[in-house]
């Protein structure tokens, strides 16, 4: 598995065609996702599949459409760089020689903080998925930060690209590239509601199985993006307006944050859900649900916003040209 990964990586380095490189990067994402499954990191695998094999290549392709797929072949002192990189790699290999062996159960990471997560979290939090417990409760502030990172990126992209102009209906750009594929359109018309449903399932199932707000948000976004690709951005933007998305993205963060503030007002520390309701365990449940919802909303709307921004950049650059 890892060997495959390494080969893919080298192939990416070798390839000149950006399009192929992006595709390989997608495959690389899938491969690493399956590696994550093989080492029991199902949540991570799910996310990596959605991101590495989904959103990442999608964004890359959208950008490539604007930038062009051909790369120039001028390399900068490849030999020296190769040498440098190899030396550093060798030094690193030396540096890892006394690392705890792979999978050994008595390595320090497994015997300190993690013990409590594994042994106590089903009782303390009351949900089986320990990753969700840690993510949404023990270290929920990190997750708030993570949502804010997505929000920040969306804001950055917005500031950079978005002009606020929707493509005027009926213009040439209205018809998306894949508009002519009738079969695709019919199939996806049926598929998109399913995708959205699945997103909702992932959203609310996160406590029990792999999944949660982030994955759900990504999937939801993927559904909308698919719609946009097939039916044109103008149509998509009429269905889900960018202004609304901005508000939603902000609201998601605010929902998350206000849960924290409510906890604070009801006498606990920031994000201490046990204060939300008289029964601390139920309170935790509610807290986790609400913040996961916030995560989902922000991630979905941020991803769609980013995609819209890329799309509108396409439209604009075509108009300029």
């Amino acid at each position: 598995m890892l060997l495959l990964l390494a080969i893919t990586a080298l192939a990416i380095a070798w390839l000149r065609d950006l399009f192929a490189a992006v595709m390989l990067a997608g495959i690389y994402g899938l491969l690493s996702a399956s590696f994550f499954v093989s080492v029991d990191a199902v949540d991570v695998a799910f996310t990596e599949a959605a991101v590495g094999a989904g959103i990442f290549p999608l964004l890359m392709l959208a950008a490539l459409a604007l930038v062009g797929r051909n790369e120039q072949t001028a390399y900068r002192r490849p030999l020296i760089s190769l040498l440098l990189v190899s030396i550093t790699g060798a030094a690193l290999v030396l540096g890892t020689l006394d690392m705890p062996a792979f999978g050994s159960a008595d390595a320090p990471p497994h015997n300190h903080v993690a013990v409590r997560y594994i042994e106590e979290s089903p009782k303390e939090i009351g949900i089986p998925n320990m990753v969700t417990s840690v993510l949404a409760d023990y270290r929920s502030f990190d997750t708030l930060g993570e949502v804010v990172v997505v929000f920040t990126a969306a804001m950055g992209v917005l500031g950079l690209l978005f002009t606020g102009r929707a493509a005027s209906p009926g213009s040439a750009t209205e018809r998306a590239n894949m508009y002519d594929h009738r079969v695709l359109r019919v199939v996806s018309k049926m598929l998109i509601p399913l995708i959205l449903l699945f997103a909702l399932y992932v959203q609310f199932h996160g406590e029990y199985g792999p999944g949660g707000g982030f994955q759900a948000g990504v999937i939801f976004a993927a559904g909308i993006i698919l719609y946009a690709m097939l039916f044109g951005f103008g149509n998509a933007q009429r269905v889900v307006r960018p202004a609304l998305l901005q508000i939603l993205a902000a609201c998601g963060v605010l929902i998350y944050g206000s849960v924290g503030v409510v906890c604070l007002l009801s006498g606990g520390n920031f994000l201490d859900y046990s204060q939300l309701l008289p029964d601390p365990l139920v309170g935790r449940h509610v807290g986790i649900l609400v913040i996961e919802l916030g995560v989902g909303i922000t991630v979905a709307s941020a991803m769609i916003l980013i995609f819209y921004a890329f799309a509108s950049a396409t439209v604009n650059s075509e108009e300029v040209a």
Binding site: R76, S81, T88
Partner: protein, 564 residues
């Protein structure tokens, strides 16, 4: 007694700030009032330390009054007042504001109770004074001011370095006798030396002072170097090295002064020469000699101020200052002429004039302490002074052949300032006790004994005779000021050619040294700009890859350093 213990610099700084925002009569009144108020304040301040202040982990004393500092305090007040009167007609906010700040800084430095405060005012002195040079607002004065500033700041940096070392060594910052011990002693010595225009560090003075405005030079001549003398008197009394340095300072400017055509530059050289007497006095280090040095500083400020003022008046009225272009001005500026002659008599140490009273103390101290050679040098220098400052200045400006310039007396305020200075010169000359009372030590010295008076008069008489004779024979041509003839007649034993050659060699060596230094600097600059200039290797915009390369390199280096 709170209100009477304010440090004097506060008054001047306040005045400086106000001057920037006022004009006309209020400004004039303000500028005149401030030194008076400040002087009264100083008069009422008993000796002691005031304005203690904790800075960093150090104890600072902003304001410390003792006998040495108070003498300079009075001196600077007098000088400031005279210079202010002299410059009342000037309508230039920047110049007058800077002058007030400058005088204030000098006072601050003199009353600084610790070295760090001294350093602060030392730098402020440099910063504020440079505006007086720039006030002439010409390209040349800008360049000169720049050089001046660099050297002054350098002196400050040396001082700071010395102070830091000193504070570690002595664990205190109070400004007491330092002496040439260790690196810090030398650093501080050098810093003081630069400001005091020691040989090889004197160029800033002769460079900058003649380039300032007519009024600016009067201020400049009073403060900077005297602060340095004060600092030397406090930090390095009795350092023998100073005797030799001082002696050199008295002699070498004479060569330059004699060949110089710009009369204010002549005065600048003679300023260095007078400083030499003070430095010798400090270096000998006995009560008498220190008294002499301090007293000479006192009188020098006034008579040198008077001379600069009279030359300033000439420049102000005629727009010319080169000896070769002037002459015959006594017809149109008789009062200025008389005042200038009083100044000339003082600097030449005529009995009954102030220079005699103070200079003779240093000379006596040199004899008493077995420095016969030094005494001889000082004697030679005295004669030289008489020649270039006492005779040359008034003669070429006001007499000599008539250059045909017809003008009038300078403005009343200028005349008034000069009159006050002249009156002081004469008063001190006749009643030296007034000055002696103020001196740090009580020595009961009497300048008017027969030997002194006789020796001095004899010297002066022969010099004058020589000059007159030369002139009658038309052998002292003002049109060719670079020909140096006077020394031959002062000291017949020295052949004129030898002297001329020495002068030539000194000047040539100096020039050669400077050009090669300039070349070196230019080369270094070119080298630096090749790499650091906007398109140089180190300033270029680099591609992302090379930035990352550095990351990798650093990572590898760190790793190998930490693993092996």
């Amino acid at each position: 007694m709170m209100p009477f213990e304010l440090p004097p610099f506060l008054f001047f700084y306040l005045a400086g700030a106000l001057v920037l925002f006022t004009s006309g009569t209020p400004r004039a009144v303000l500028m005149l009032l401030i030194p008076v108020v400040s002087a009264v304040n100083l008069w009422l301040t008993p000796e002691g330390s005031y304005g203690q202040l904790a800075f960093l982990d150090l104890q600072l004393t902003l304001h410390k009054v003792d006998r040495l500092s108070i003498l300079f305090g009075y001196l600077f007040h007098i000088a400031a007042l005279i210079a202010i009167i002299y410059s009342l007609h000037v309508r230039d906010r920047m110049q007058q504001g800077a002058a007030m700040f400058y005088a204030g800084s000098a006072l601050g430095a003199v009353f600084a109770g610790d070295l760090l405060t001294l350093f602060v005012f030392w730098e402020l002195l440099a910063l504020t004074s440079v505006f007086l040079v720039w006030a002439r607002r010409s390209e040349r004065s800008y360049r000169v001011g720049m050089r001046y500033l660099i050297i002054q700041v350098l002196s400050g940096l040396l001082l700071l370095g010395g102070i830091i070392l000193y504070s570690r060594e002595a664990d205190s910052l109070s400004f007491v006798e330092i002496g040439l011990h260790g690196v810090y002693g030398w650093l501080i010595f050098l810093a003081f030396g630069i400001k005091c225009a020691f040989p090889f560090f004197h160029n800033w003075l002769t460079d900058a002072y003649p380039e300032s405005t007519p009024t600016g030079t009067v201020f400049l001549s009073a403060f900077t170097t005297k602060v340095a003398v004060y600092a030397l008197a406090r930090g390095y009394p009795g350092t023998e090295l100073l005797v030799y340095i001082g002696a050199a300072m008295t002699c070498f400017p004479i060569f330059y002064a004699v060949i110089e055509n710009d009369l204010r530059r002549v005065l600048a050289y003679s300023l260095i020469n007078q400083l030499g007497f003070m430095v010798v006095g400090v270096g000998i280090g006995t009560a008498l000699s220190i008294n002499g040095a301090v007293a000479h500083a006192f009188t020098d400020v006034i008579f040198k101020g008077l001379l600069f003022m009279s030359m300033g008046a000439v420049l102000h009225m005629t727009g010319r200052i080169n000896g070769s272009e002037l002459g015959g001005l006594y017809k149109s500026m008789p009062k200025t002429t008389v005042l200038c002659i009083i100044g000339a008599a003082s600097i030449s140490a005529f009995p009954l004039f102030s220079g005699f009273v103070s200079k003779s103390m240093v000379m006596s101290a040199a004899i008493e302490n077995d420095y016969p050679w030094i005494w001889l040098m000082l004697l030679f220098a005295s004669a030289g002074v008489f020649h270039h400052a006492g005779i040359k200045i008034p003669y070429f400006a006001f007499f000599a052949h008539d250059a045909g310039i017809r003008t009038s007396e300078p403005p009343v305020n200028m005349l008034l300032a000069m009159t006050i200075a002249a009156a002081l010169c004469v008063t001190i000359g006749i009643f030296p006790e007034v000055l002696y009372q103020l001196l740090p030590y009580d020595t009961g010295y009497n300048p008017y004994d027969a030997t002194h008076v006789l020796a001095q008069t004899q010297l002066l008489f022969f010099s004058a005779l020589a000059f007159v004779w030369l002139n009658l024979r038309h052998m002292y041509p003002p049109e060719l000021p670079s020909v140096n003839l006077d020394a031959e007649w002062c000291y017949r034993r020295l052949a004129p050619s030898v002297l001329q050659r020495i002068t030539g060699v000194v000047v040539a060596a100096n020039t050669a040294l400077r050009t090669s230094a300039a070349k070196l600097v230019a080369w270094v600059l070119a080298y630096i700009s090749r790499h650091h200039g906007p398109d140089g290797l180190l300033a270029r915009t680099w591609p992302t890859g090379s930035v990352v390369t550095w990351v990798v390199v650093l990572l590898a280096v760190y790793l190998s350093l930490s693993l092996f």
